[in-house]
């Protein structure tokens, strides 16, 4: 099938891996939690390592800036800031910034869905069958 506005490429795992392992602590290895054997680096891990390296070597890395405004900084976020030469400021977000879509099936077989922020909230939502407040067809009681 062809899609006019889309291109598909393979994630540069090998390239990222090649650039990534030169950590000051030495090579980085990954263990499969089930088999306990060495496994390949995932794209996310490759991306994380590459980002760490790039942030460390190519851009200035500073603690999150505190605004001069009256508003306090949200210290719960842990991303890294990047300062570009053109004055732009970037912020690499972490997993807790991702939007998770969680689904529940109730006793009637109806499936409700909800969005939650981050892996932590997603885990909580999985355990909760009470939240389908926004499922407009829910047969609750």
């Amino acid at each position: 099938m062809t899609f006019e506005h889309v291109r598909v490429v393979n994630a540069p795992i090998a390239a990222s891996s090649a650039a990534a392992p030169a950590q000051s602590q030495g090579l980085r290895a990954y263990i499969d939690q089930n088999s306990k054997r060495l496994r390949e680096q995932t794209p996310d891990e490759a991306h994380q390592v590459a980002t760490e390296r790039r942030v460390r070597m190519q851009v200035s890395r500073v603690p999150m800036a505190r605004s001069a405004s009256a508003n306090a900084v949200d210290d719960s976020v842990g991303p890294q800031m990047i300062y570009g030469a053109d004055g732009s400021v970037g912020l690499l977000l972490d997993e807790e910034s991702m939007v998770y879509q969680v689904a529940h099936k109730d006793a009637n077989g109806d499936v409700g869905q909800q969005c939650v922020n981050g892996k932590t909230e997603a885990a909580k939502a999985l355990q909760s069958n009470t939240d389908s407040k926004h499922d407009e067809v829910r047969h609750d009681r």
Binding site: E4, H47, M64, G90, L91, M98, V111, C115, N117, E121
Partner: protein, 478 residues
């Protein structure tokens, strides 16, 4: 507590989405290239070689190829709608995600990075998703990092992972009881393009001290302040101000009259003055929809349980039946389904049913259930509003309360918008992380793509007159 704001619900959900589809299209000049970066290793995820029969216009013959085709279809819709000279890269994988037999993480997505104070930024000191920042700059601000991360559950539907409810991989939206992957992707990509605030809704604190571009368009109609003009405490309060936080962007405002149906269901108490006002309601999926001029009558409670509770899960006693005959019956949520309560009240002669929630929070959700023999209207109100009404009912006689109300539809406002035609964003109380603020309110009718729950009647459309997602992104600078 009385809610003076007009209530909204989904009574008119059948309104003209199909007709509107015929004229829905993206701007002809729009174009952006979406690059899907396949992050799966050989043999899994997008590369899963398991044979699969073509389905719903998806001609892939392996599970992996069908997944990739669905991803491309969703990305292509966005690529045909957005305009950018900078490519948007989505790092995507299908992989095992957390699940149980009855629940599952379908997937996750979002911007990998945000930028502020780039050349040409419309608002200074303001965070933009990297895809939007790149579009506004006309170049990739960070060529080494994709703009969006998306991962979806490769085990969905298998035994032990929302068993029996897989992703539907067809492209024609004929998903039946399965979960339509293209719709989920359109929704999640929408967040990645900028349909979200990065501000903490619980504390009200900006991300790293700066607002999101999204915050510039959020107006709290109680205090008449934009989020960017509030203190942290004010924003935290505003995030809980149900159906009082609206989007003020011009593109969305222009699209609302065609996207949202006229008609806002409400409960209006007229006397006594101490409790008079309009209350938020959730409407029922059974019985007749609320109408104009609606049903007006005296309110009387059912009392059949300890603590002045009226469950109405069995035929009403003679005393209760006499009390609600010809009146609007107040019953409590719990023990049996809503349509059962409505039917017993109807059998006793009630002309309408007001179900009081049994847990705190708002806005009131709808009333699910089905019973074609129910012929009177029913609504749900919050526990807090129910307590207010019950207090007013304490001085009643056996047959009269002196409390009068109307269940009707206000045809001057649109379902999901305020009186000024501004769509409401989702602000339930208590706060729902990930859902609150960064979605449209659930009262929008017809349903919109960016409501917190993905409704089964959605189409694969992101533009007006069917949907408001692209309009909101346009307001932000797309």
């Amino acid at each position: 507590m009385i809610a003076n704001h007009r209530s909204i619900a989904s009574a008119l959900s059948a309104c003209g989405a199909a007709l509107l589809l015929t004229v829905a299209s993206a701007p002809t000049y729009a174009a952006a290239t979406i690059i899907i970066q396949n992050g799966n290793a050989a043999g899994v995820g997008f590369n899963d070689p398991t044979p699969a029969a073509p389905v719903g216009g998806n001609t892939g013959v392996t599970l992996g190829q069908q997944r990739l085709n669905a991803f491309q279809a969703a990305a292509n819709t966005w690529g045909a709608t957005l305009t950018s000279t900078a490519n948007v890269t989505i790092l995507a994988t299908f992989e095992p995600l957390t699940c149980t037999a009855t629940s599952a993480v379908l997937g996750s997505a979002g911007a990998i990075s945000v930028f502020r104070d780039f050349p040409g930024a419309p608002f200074p000191n303001t965070w933009y998703s990297s895809a939007l920042a790149n579009k506004l700059v006309g170049a990739d601000l960070d060529t080494s990092t994709p703009e969006i991360r998306a991962r979806f559950n490769s085990n969905l539907g298998l035994t032990g992972c929302l068993t029996g409810v897989p992703f539907y991989l067809g492209l024609d939206n004929a998903h039946g009881p399965a979960i339509d992957l293209v719709t989920v992707l359109l929704h999640e990509f929408g967040h990645g393009f900028g349909f979200q605030t990065f501000t903490n809704g619980t504390s009200g604190a900006y991300l790293a001290g700066f607002p999101s571009v999204y915050d510039n368009y959020l107006l709290d109609t109680t205090v008449n302040k934009l989020w960017v003009n509030m203190t942290n405490a004010e924003r935290a309060t505003s995030a809980l101000n149900s159906r009082r936080l609206v989007w003020t962007g011009a593109n969305v405002g222009a699209a609302v009259p065609n996207a949202l149906a006229l008609g806002t269901p409400f409960l209006s108490v007229t006397t006594p003055a101490s409790v008079a006002g309009q209350y938020l309601v959730g409407t029922a999926s059974f019985g007749p929809p609320l109408a104009t001029p609606g049903v007006t009558g005296e309110i009387m409670p059912v009392v059949d349980s300890a603590g002045s509770i009226g469950l109405a899960c069995t035929p009403l006693s003679a005393l209760n039946a006499a009390a609600v005959n010809g009146k609007l019956a107040v019953v409590d949520r719990g023990t049996c389904t809503f349509n059962v309560k409505a039917k017993f009240a109807q059998d006793a002669g009630a002309i309408g049913v007001i179900v009081v929630d049994n847990v705190a929070g708002g806005p009131p959700a709808g009333l699910g259930g089905a019973d074609p023999t129910v012929t009177i209207p029913s609504v749900r109100i919050t526990l807090a509003d129910g307590t207010t009404l019950k207090n007013a009912l304490r001085t009643r006689s056996r047959l009269h309360s002196g409390v009068f109300a109307t269940l009707a539809v206000d045809m001057t406002t649109r379902s999901g918008a305020d009186g000024a035609g501004r769509p409401m964003v989702f602000t339930p109380n208590p706060f729902q992380s990930g859902s609150s603020v960064s979605h449209w309110d659930t009262s929008a009718t017809p349903n919109l793509l960016m409501e917190p729950a993905i409704n089964v009647d959605l189409t694969h459309t992101v533009v007006p007159p069917v949907d408001l997602t692209f309009s909101l992104l346009q307001d932000e600078g797309w």
